[in-house]
């Protein structure tokens, strides 16, 4: 009884209606692109140029040398040379400084006396991510400074007779993204958000609108089957979602310089499956909700919050707790972001990604299958 003619008639009608509602069409097409660009250029992922304040009570060659160590990194920039403790405190309180360094007045004197001297680091813990990076870097910088001092001691006291060896030296080789380019991580992650948010909402709206105006009675009373109607109605949104991810993909590769190292086929397959899955999610929500406003809210909450919390778009999934990781892998978007990042940055092959692709495929089947099963051609 299934008829392609009816399915395409529904799809064509939905597309024409959408296209002629110019404002809605522009929002739908440009919205996700805007969202992507805003996030791509606005969301800070790299920790660099953190503002540092220094209270140097010693003002010696040693203390200046320590300051230089910080100044020369691109993690910190010295924003303030404080004249007293209060000035430093105020800087941190007003959030102008992420960290403050207090070098005591006997800093060089103690070093010359060969005894240990304590310097104080004040770190703004309000943003734990930054605090962790700051602390780590301050420790690293001071270690580096210590090692230089030890070398000088050995020169001075042992006359260079016996070089003190460094017990362990790390030779780090960073794979995939040696320059720590934040775009490599962020942009492939944003593809998922681009597809998910707007198309899901539009799919929800297209069905709830018909329910709200009761024009859905036309369908109830026609010989169109549920499968034809629901798939036909969603088809334009799936195509638009896929088209959009191709646009942002082009931006990432051609303009932002993100490499595409792995299987293009895997990427395209995942993008297409995820377009279906995202629209399917919107459809699934619309099956249960009968009016537009609550449908928009529910879809927004489910797409945006779940995505930002669990999908790995900001915090990698491996960093989540075990329970949360389970939730993460129940979400189709997690699998999609896995594919985009692995394929583009790690150069993964189609076979490497087969589990993720299977998961995406299953999500399409679940969303559309259950929607078609639960939806009834009857008034409730």
């Amino acid at each position: 009884m299934f008829s392609w003619i009816r399915l395409f008639a529904v799809a064509n009608k939905e597309y024409l209606e959408l296209k002629r509602n110019l404002l809605l069409f522009l929002v739908l097409v440009l919205g996700p692109i805007m969202l992507y660009l805003l996030e791509a250029y606005g969301l800070p992922v790299d920790v660099k140029n953190l503002n540092l304040g220094v209270l140097d009570m010693d003002k010696s060659a040693y203390s200046r040398s320590l300051q230089d160590t910080f100044q020369n990194s691109n993690i910190f920039q010295i924003k303030l040379i404080a004249s007293d403790k209060n000035e430093l405190k105020k800087g941190i309180d007003l959030s102008e400084l992420r960290a403050g360094l207090i070098i005591p007045h006997d800093f060089s004197a103690q070093l010359k006396r060969n005894s240990t001297v304590a310097i104080q680091a004040l770190i703004d813990g309000a943003y734990p991510n930054y605090a962790l990076v700051s602390e780590g870097y301050i420790r690293g910088a001071v270690n580096h400074f210590n090692y230089n001092l030890l070398e000088q001691y050995s020169d001075r006291y042992l006359g260079g007779l016996a070089k003190i060896p460094i017990p362990i030296d790390i030779k780090a080789t960073v794979w995939y993204n040696p320059t720590f380019n934040g775009n490599y991580f962020m942009l492939p992650g944003l593809f998922g958000l681009t597809i998910l948010f707007f198309p899901a909402i539009m799919a929800t709206l297209s069905l709830t609108k018909e329910k709200e105006t009761r024009s859905i009675l036309n369908f109830y009373c026609s010989s169109i089957t549920k499968t034809e109607y629901l798939i036909g109605k969603m088809l334009p949104y799936i195509m638009i979602a896929f088209f959009q991810v191709m646009l942002v993909f082009s931006h990432a590769v051609l303009i932002a310089g993100v490499p595409m190292r792995g299987s293009l086929l895997a990427f395209l397959a995942a993008s297409f499956l995820f377009s279906i899955s995202a629209v399917g999610m919107g459809l699934f929500i619309a099956i249960f909700i009968n009016s537009q406003a609550p449908a928009i809210l529910v879809t927004t909450v489910l797409t945006l919050t779940l995505t930002f919390t669990y999908s790995g778009i900001i915090t990698p999934v491996i960093c989540l707790s075990e329970d949360n990781r389970l939730i993460a892998y129940l979400l189709p978007i997690t699998h999609y972001i896995d594919v985009t990042r692995h394929v583009m940055i790690r150069g993964s092959s189609f076979a490497d990604m087969s589990n993720n692709l299977l998961a995406l495929f299953l999500s399409c089947v679940v969303f559309f299958g259950s929607s078609i099963l639960i939806f009834k051609k009857r008034l409730s």
Binding site: A9, N21, R214
Partner: protein, 584 residues
């Protein structure tokens, strides 16, 4: 195709309903109802709001499951397998333009309906051409549905439901909100379809004059059919309606409460005869489209002034200009002596306005709506509470003060809306199609309120309507078409003028109606099918009677009755509107 049930093909009954019941939250909507509809019949279902008419149509169409009983349509059990019936069904849901995709053009809409019903493209083109011609929509093929008038939208919707040649069409209030001319065209199309393709029509309506055009009518109330039979005329059905609905006759508006409400009002104490509303060459243009073309009129204090005209005639625009909601392009006017262009804020305080679609907040309760309007019009808190009590009495809403407004039937909502529009005791009220879609009983009460406001309280009322039977309540009528005044006067004067041009109306009762109509229609300029009768306008009664008898006996068709009939006001209306078209 599926045709395992061969027996019913011989049966004459297209719809068989037996002992069907349906309850919503324990409130019965349809109770133990049985009904048979014959092949080729136009069957009309009338009844007040909430009688269960839509519920019954939904059950027949297979989209609502009854609690009890059986329904078979075209010989197939609808309850067991609704999908098998749907391919031979055409259904038009309630609500203007609801069946159409508003962004799609006329042609695209028809094509869509053809595609989803798997109509062969070649056949589709043939049928489309016929339907577009019959509905006079040919010229608008490429126009988006949203830019069609309400009447044209419903004509298009009917084309869409007919494109796959259904055997049965179900129409849920197809003409609500549609102007009389478009309604007449819709009926011509329906009659034509029944004759040429043998389709059976099941419809609900709130227009009594339309019920008279059906072959058979049933009156439904509280989920039951009270009366069924061949209709005579609109007025007869209306009386039937009132006599069968319990309490309808003595149910009237609460006059005591109304009197108390307007007790201290100035308008009642002022001398009548003053001109309250005055329009001089009022004109409104939207880009290069003239919505209202320099119209002038005067309304005296206490008058009920009726605005009649097709959809898009400029009624709403004129009312909006007079209320100060839309600035006129040119021309001037005064309301209660206040200048329309300079004293708009003062005008707004002295008038009451009830808009076409929206005047109450659906999510607020009855009391909250009244209080809201009270504070909008700056009626003091204490006074609002006093008037609220009275308005609730006037609108017959005692016990429903805390009901959410959207849960009320339309007729009651409109009474409440009128109550809200007079909370500040305005000197005149503007009502824009207040009774569109409202059942006769609720309309009767609504008009009692209006008449009382005007006669006893001296309030000036300007009202627009599509219900032509309401014209007789108006002291003066202004007929507007395409932004121009085409006729003005009392209902009696207008009828007289039209009759002078068209002749007297002869109503013919004939067994073999269709053949008779075919024989007669060429011989007279005004000859229509009207329900189970034929209407002919005659200027020379004696000659025409002989002519009719001669034509009929030529075809050996027997005439059972012929008599003179008062001219229905919808014919008066169409006469003036079409006369204008010819002259312009």
């Amino acid at each position: 195709m599926i045709s395992e049930n061969s027996a019913p093909e011989n049966s004459n009954n297209i719809i068989e309903i037996s002992q069907v019941s349906k309850k919503f939250k324990k409130i019965p909507a349809v109770s133990n109802l049985s009904l048979q509809i014959k092949r080729g019949e136009i069957f009309g279902l009338i009844g007040p709001d909430g009688a269960g008419k839509s519920t019954l149509i939904h059950i027949i169409s297979g989209i609502l499951k009854p609690d009890k009983g059986t329904v078979s349509v075209l010989g197939k059990n609808v309850l067991k397998d609704p999908e098998r019936v749907k391919c031979s069904l055409g259904f038009l849901p309630q609500g203007l333009g609801l069946a159409l995709a508003q962004e799609l053009s006329v042609e695209e809409n028809i094509n869509y309906f053809a595609q989803i019903n798997l109509v062969d493209p070649k056949k589709r083109e043939e049928r489309k051409a016929v339907l577009l011609k019959k509905t006079q929509l040919e010229a608008f093929r490429d126009r988006p549905a949203k830019h069609l008038s309400g009447g044209m939208q419903q004509k298009l919707a009917l084309c869409c439901t007919l494109i796959h040649e259904p055997k049965l069409i179900l129409l849920d209030e197809p003409t609500t909100g549609v102007d009389p001319i478009s309604r007449r065209d819709l009926w011509l199309l329906l009659n034509d379809m029944v004759e040429t393709s043998g389709v059976t029509v099941f419809l609900t309506t709130s227009y009594m004059d339309e019920a008279a055009r059906c072959h058979r009518v049933a009156l439904m109330h509280n989920g039951e059919i009270l009366e069924m039979g061949e209709p005579r005329d609109g007025a007869g059905i209306y009386d039937l309606f009132l006599s069968h609905i319990p309490g309808a006759k003595d149910k009237g508006v609460n006059k005591k409460a109304l009197e108390e409400f307007f007790q201290k009002s100035e308008s009642s104490s002022r001398p009548t005869g003053n001109i309250v509303i005055k329009a001089e060459d009022l004109e409104k243009k939207f880009k290069d489209f003239t919505a209202v073309n320099k119209i002038s009129f005067e309304v005296k204090q206490g008058e009920i002034f009726g605005f009649l005209g097709p959809n898009g005639a400029g009624k709403t625009t004129t009312i909006k200009m007079l209320c100060g909601l839309v600035p006129p392009t040119s021309g001037s006017g005064t309301i209660d002596g206040l200048n329309l262009s300079r004293e708009v804020s003062k005008i707004k305080k002295s008038i009451g306005y009830m808009s076409q679609r929206f005047s109450l907040y659906g999510n607020l309760t009855v009391s909250e709506n009244i209080e809201l309007y009270g504070s909008i019009y700056e009626v003091g808190r204490k006074e609002v509470l006093r008037r609220r009590k009275l308005i609730i009495q006037i609108a017959d809403l005692i016990g429903r003060e805390n009901t959410i407004t959207s849960d009320l039937p339309l007729g009651i909502k409109q009474r409440l809306a009128l109550g809200c529009a007079i909370i500040h005791k305005p000197t005149c009220v503007f009502l824009d199609e207040p009774t569109s879609g409202v059942d006769p009983l609720a309309r009767k009460m609504f008009w009692e309120m209006i008449i009382f406001l005007s006669r006893q309280m001296g309030v000036t009322v300007l009202v627009s309507t599509h219900h032509l039977d309401e014209a007789e309540y108006c002291d003066k009528i202004l007929l507007i078409n395409q932004g121009n005044i085409v006729a003005a006067g009392s209902a009696k004067e207008l009828t007289g003028n039209a009759q002078a041009e068209m002749g007297t109306l002869l109503e013919l009762s004939i067994e073999n109606r269709q053949n008779a109509f075919n024989a007669l229609k060429g011989a007279f300029p005004y000859c229509f099918e009207y329900g189970s009768h034929i209407h002919i306008y005659s200027k020379n009664k004696v000659n025409d009677l002989n002519k009719i008898k001669g034509l009929l006996s030529e075809k050996s068709i027997g005439l059972s009755d012929i008599h003179e009939q008062a001219m229905p006001f919808d014919n008066v209306f169409t006469f003036f509107c079409e006369n204008q078209k010819e002259t312009s």
